[in-house]
């Protein structure tokens, strides 16, 4: 099972707790109207990380991209039994727990196993599925490897931070264990013989093997506690009434063996139709959506980032009384802070941290975070640009009776912007590329879409090549357009 407990997640969880003390996070007063609340709301929001077939993955359903898989089936059944509508929110596995705690989602069904550590923070239902582990190898090596103990002197791969990764580390001897974040990357490494085997969950292993004739699966023989091999649904801490109700559904699923009988075959069907046509052209819609969101994020962030940048630059240049000094100090601190922290953390902070107080959609959060980030950089360019304008320009304008503000607006800023236009253009192009960071909170921009296509088609390289070309086309076009305007401005 996936059991990532990355440092980031730990940090964010701590942050959420801290903020929670001061804020009014929904999970504290959730007490036990949890069931009533969901039923009143009429919608159950399920969080999942759709890069994990056959549990959950992206597929093209009636020409549209949708999240499918056995977990989705379970989510549908849970919602149906509660008499509410199901809404699915995709995000990276790392983000799921925080999203649940901050009220972005109501439950997690994402092949999550109910470990004691997790139990401290969320409430789990009974387990709905018990899997196991296998090791995927190249078919040509069949016979050479029997189980985990056959890899002495070789290299095993596993998804970083997962249960199988830890097991591979602890339960093998003389074997190098290499971690990667994505399953499709691992398979790719296996096929290019950088790895000798990849440990993964049984259903996943079977999905890969049945879709790729060059692969085979062998038993892992890891010894595992049952909590590490089974999946359960997670709810916010203290949702006893809701958990009790859902447990009835889970029990029924188990009693009737619905997972094996209905849900896995249904998921497999998508996997099959999915692999019929794995050409990149078949996925043009997915890539188009990616481009669309990448551009939306970039353009919005450039726009707001520019406004924030101008305001910050002016604040940093403020001179005079106490209030202005304070303003300057705040702006300086802000710029330093933003430039001194990774954009990725800022994105997560806005989505989850601010999420405690206002419920912002992922796209909005992404745009806010990137605008705030870009604003700090733009501010520095603009400040440099303003300083590069000859002081004589200001004096001439002031001597004509123009106020400080009018001088800035009509005389200094236009010239400053002209001077820094190339730097601003660079920032725009950088943003086209950097906007990819919001993929971690589930915004369907290019990187996110390419990951979907990769896990969809089991093709590791082709989608990467496609988005590389697409990014280049975007940045190249943008830089041509910017050059055109730059030349035009030079004439003026």
């Amino acid at each position: 099972m996936k059991k990532k407990i990355g440092l980031l997640l730990a940090m964010l969880a701590a942050l959420v707790m801290m903020v929670g003390v001061f804020g009014n996070p929904t999970q504290v007063q959730a007490a036990d109207n949890s069931l009533a609340k969901i039923q009143k709301k009429g919608v159950l929001v399920m969080g999942t990380s759709p890069d994990y077939p056959p549990y959950e993955f992206q597929a093209t359903v009636k020409g549209k991209s949708a999240v499918v898989g056995m977990d989705v089936k379970i989510g549908e059944k849970v919602a149906k039994d509660l008499g509410v509508k199901l809404k699915i929110k995709s995000m990276s596995f790392d983000s799921l727990l925080v999203a649940l705690q901050t009220g972005k989602i109501d439950m997690i069904i994402s092949g999550m196993n109910p470990t004691p550590a997790r139990r401290k923070n969320v409430d789990f239902t009974h387990t709905y599925y018990k899997g196991g582990y296998e090791i995927v190898i190249n078919k040509t090596d069949k016979g050479k490897y029997k189980n985990k103990d056959s890899f002495s002197g070789g290299t095993l791969g596993a998804q970083t931070g997962t249960t199988q990764y830890n097991a591979a580390k602890k339960q093998t001897k003389n074997t190098k264990v290499k971690g990667m974040t994505s399953q499709s990357d691992l398979i790719l490494a296996l096929q290019s013989h950088k790895l000798d085997g990849v440990a993964m969950e049984k259903p996943s292993a079977e999905a890969y093997v049945s879709n790729n004739k060059q692969l085979a699966a062998i038993p892992s023989d890891f010894s595992m506690s049952s909590s590490a091999t089974s999946s359960a649904i997670a709810f916010r801490k203290g949702s006893t009434s809701l958990v009790n109700k859902v447990n009835k559904t889970v029990d029924q699923i188990k009693k009737e063996n619905l997972v094996k009988k209905e849900y896995l075959p249904a998921a497999g069907k998508y996997l099959k139709t999915n692999t019929v046509n794995t050409s990149m052209g078949h996925y043009w819609k997915a890539f188009l959506t990616g481009i669309e969101y990448t551009l939306i994020i970039t353009v919005c962030s450039v726009f707001f980032g520019f406004i924030i940048g101008v305001l910050l630059a002016l604040a940093r240049l403020a001179k005079g009384n106490f209030l202005k000094s304070l303003l300057r100090w705040i702006a300086t601190a802000y710029v330093e802070f933003i430039r001194g922290t990774p954009m990725m953390v800022q994105v997560m902070f806005v989505y989850f941290g601010l999420g405690l107080f206002v419920n912002l959609p992922a796209l909005t959060s992404g745009i806010i975070a990137i605008s705030l980030n870009s604003g700090a950089y733009v501010a520095e360019y603009i400040r440099g640009g303003i300083n590069s304008v000859d002081i004589g320009q200001t004096e001439a304008a002031r001597s004509l009776g123009m106020s400080n503000g009018e001088t800035m607006r009509f005389v200094v800023l236009p010239q400053a912007l002209k001077n820094i236009w190339p730097s601003l253009g660079n920032e725009f192009i950088t943003l086209i590329k950097d906007s990819s960071i919001v993929s971690i909170i589930g915004v369907t921009e290019l990187i996110y879409q390419s990951n979907i296509v990769r896990s969809d088609t089991y093709r590791g390289v082709a989608p990467i090549v496609v988005i590389m070309v697409l990014y280049f086309v975007l940045t190249f076009t943008a830089s041509r357009i910017l050059n055109y305007f730059e030349r035009k401005m030079q004439h003026a």
Binding site: A396, G401, S403, A492
Partner: protein
């Protein structure tokens, strides 16, 4: 005696420890052309910039038409600056605007003149400085003499009551000095009150009403051009004149 346009009282200005202006008390009457001369670094520019508060005096009073600028709020200072046009050694035209736009900017943004009347006025001013055919040119295509005449037109567009000139011809090639001085002479003839910092002694003699000789932070001599150039009183002035008249 008419009421003075500018009154300066016990004006002092220091930059840190550097006392540039020490104790200056003078006045400018309507229609007068004051020529400020003196050795380099003597504080002439600083003095001129204190008159329209581009530089804030350390102490003393600068009054325009009886209003003390040093105690005024920023807004009133801004509006009094309109009445004091200033021309700089380096022209300081706005390079991103045409000649016409340079002239129209302040009337439109500060006085909220409408475009048509601002354009009309700008053309009249350009005719006055002999450059109407350059209305649509950008500053970097002008010669120094032309640029400075545009700068004068730009300052005049606010209908100032006083014009301040800080070495308007020092940055010009010699053959262009004349065209700028001519414009200034015309202005003086039309009755404009002017304070001119310059090294053009010919202009000082023929156009100036008073010569203020400035050195070491003081106005050392205040007299008529005839008297100053024929019979300077202080050794400082004699020394200065002997050097520039060589």
């Amino acid at each position: 005696m008419p009421k003075p346009v500018i009154e300066v009282e016990k004006l002092a200005k220091s930059f840190g420890d550097n006392a540039v202006l020490k104790d200056i008390t003078e006045q400018v009457n309507p229609g007068q052309v004051i020529v400020v001369i003196g050795p380099s670094g003597g504080g002439k520019s600083t003095f001129l910039r204190c008159l329209n508060l581009l530089e804030t005096p350390t102490s003393g009073k600068v009054a325009f038409e009886g209003h003390d600028l040093t105690t005024m709020d920023t807004k009133s200072v801004n509006s009094l600056r309109e009445k004091m046009g200033m021309v700089f050694q380096g022209f300081n035209l706005f390079p991103n605007m045409t000649v016409l736009e340079n002239i129209k900017l302040a009337p439109m943004k500060v006085k909220h003149a409408d475009d048509a009347s601002a354009t009309k006025q700008a053309h009249e001013l350009l005719q006055r400085v002999g450059l109407d055919d350059h209305a649509d040119a950008f500053p970097d295509s002008l010669s120094g003499g032309q640029a400075q005449r545009v700068a004068i037109a730009r300052a005049l567009a606010m209908n100032p009551e006083v014009m301040l000139f800080d070495e308007p011809t020092s940055a010009l090639d010699p053959e262009m000095v004349g065209e700028v001085l001519n414009v200034m002479q015309e202005l003086a003839k039309d009755g404009m009150t002017m304070v001119v910092v310059t090294h053009e002694m010919g202009f000082a003699k023929s156009v100036g009403d008073r010569i203020w000789f400035m050195a070491d932070g003081y106005i050392q001599e205040n007299s008529t051009p005839e008297k100053f150039f024929a019979n300077p009183e202080t050794d400082r002035a004699k020394d200065f004149l002997s050097k520039i008249l060589m």
